[in-house]
């Protein structure tokens, strides 16, 4: 009986898909129910420690591309911080460079500066060396701090696992949102939900962001094994 039902669903689903190819998202129902219950995890993602929404994020002292040491405490007028782990080499990070510039232009004046941190070990990924960060920042006209996580001490404290990876903090450095900048890395034109912008709008209204956690494909953070 169940089989017949599933077959009927699949048949209808495939009909729908054929009939309206662009709307195939609506045909998912049967597949969604088949998530396995017990999943064995061989290697957990390298994270697991790190910050959760509601935690207080640690401050840091990291070198900016202009050679100066930057801390969150230096931003005396900040109402919050868009702490963004990003880098030069990762195609996903590159796809967000222009969008980071736009965020900085819009939100830094409102009190929410981007504080970008490159978490990668330059020995593993030479494209992400301090000198290459300076070059890329100049090419793209970054107006925000672009810091190097020398010794890779900061990204594990935050629990960053990939680039790009955003931690939105309020002025007390409480984590309010973790995840992606928006819902479509590959195509800025096709973005439907601007997660970070919506999260800041929530903070401005004195509310908690919803969603406060999102996922996206990204490049794993590069460190020696």
């Amino acid at each position: 009986m169940k089989n017949i039902y599933v077959l009927a669903c699949l048949y209808l689903g495939s009909l729908l898909f054929v009939a309206c190819n662009n709307d195939s998202a609506t045909t998912s129902t049967s597949a969604d129910k088949k998530q396995p219950k017990a999943i064995k995890v061989v290697n957990e993602s390298p994270k697991k420690e790190g910050l959760k929404v509601g935690d207080i994020a640690p401050d840091f002292k990291l070198k900016n591309i202009n050679g100066k040491i930057v801390s969150l405490a230096d931003y005396t007028d900040a109402k919050g911080y868009i702490v963004t782990f990003t880098c030069n080499h990762c195609p996903y990070a590159v796809m967000y460079e222009d969008r980071l510039n736009a965020l900085q232009a819009k939100y830094a004046p409102m009190g929410y500066p981007i504080v970008a941190i490159n978490p990668n070990d330059p020995e593993v990924k030479p494209a992400d060396s301090f000198e290459n960060m300076q070059i890329r920042a100049k090419e793209k006209g970054f107006e925000f701090a672009y810091l190097i996580d020398e010794g890779q001490k900061v990204y594990p404290q935050y629990g960053a696992t990939k680039t790009p990876h955003v931690f939105l903090l309020n002025k007390d450095r409480m984590v309010k949102y973790i995840g992606a900048i928006d819902d479509n890395a590959q195509d800025a034109e096709a973005v439907e939900v601007k997660f970070v912008e919506n999260a800041i709008a929530s903070l401005e209204k004195g509310e908690n962001p919803d969603p406060n956690y999102t996922k996206a494909i990204g490049c794993s953070i590069k460190s020696k094994k």
Binding site: D32, N43, A185, S220
Partner: protein, 192 residues
């Protein structure tokens, strides 16, 4: 069903003709869209381009590959040409495919390359490396909607892999160091 298929093919070929001034890069992808007919385990429609690459535009179309209930063990690897650790571990998956191809083991390499730049990245990579395992493209860019459906503990960094047979399943949350590590995980599923 056949009527619909015919209609779809007709429409897509019309589209193809209408857009044919878009030069080769689009033509590479559009080509003749063939609706894959259901086999015993295949439940989804998806398009195979002329290079033989199976392209899934939505996760919903792709999802069945993670839940095929038969006596085959599936080794699913999520990778991309731009991901260095992914490319570094591909040979282990290829070796696994070679060693187990006469058993009921199927390796599927799920590329997360960008559909708009296949000509520049994935196609040349496949041509150069002549991968023997099946390669498919998952092109659903709304990643927040589907990462949890692959594996709730996965946050989106690649590579990751899943080895499963029926309900038995192991998630590999990072790259594997060597062939033995990968084979041991496969064996643990095969021996269950």
């Amino acid at each position: 069903m056949i009527k619909y298929t015919f209609l779809f093919l007709l429409l897509s070929s019309m589209l193809f003709v209408a857009c044919s001034n878009n030069q080769s890069s689009n033509a590479e992808i559009a080509k003749t869209v063939s609706v894959k007919e259901s086999t015993s385990t295949t439940q989804s429609t998806s398009q195979r381009d002329t290079t033989g690459l199976l392209i899934f535009d939505t996760f919903e179309e792709f999802d069945y590959l993670l839940h095929q209930e038969n006596d085959t063990t599936y080794v699913i690897n999520f990778w991309a040409t731009w991901c260095k650790p992914c490319v570094a571990e591909l040979p282990y998956f290829e070796e696994l495919h070679q060693k187990y191809k006469n058993q009921k083991v199927k390796v599927i390499l799920v590329s997360l390359d960008f559909k708009k730049s296949l000509d520049k990245h994935l196609y040349p990579f496949l041509k150069k490396n002549q991968l023997q395992s099946e390669v498919v493209l998952l092109a659903d860019s709304k990643t927040n909607n589907w990462i949890d459906k692959v594996e709730p503990t996965w946050d989106g960094a690649i590579p990751v892999s899943i080895i499963y047979k029926g309900k038995n399943r192991k998630f590999i949350g990072s790259d594997v160091e060597n062939f033995t590590e990968l084979e041991d995980i496969l064996k643990s599923i095969l021996n269950q």
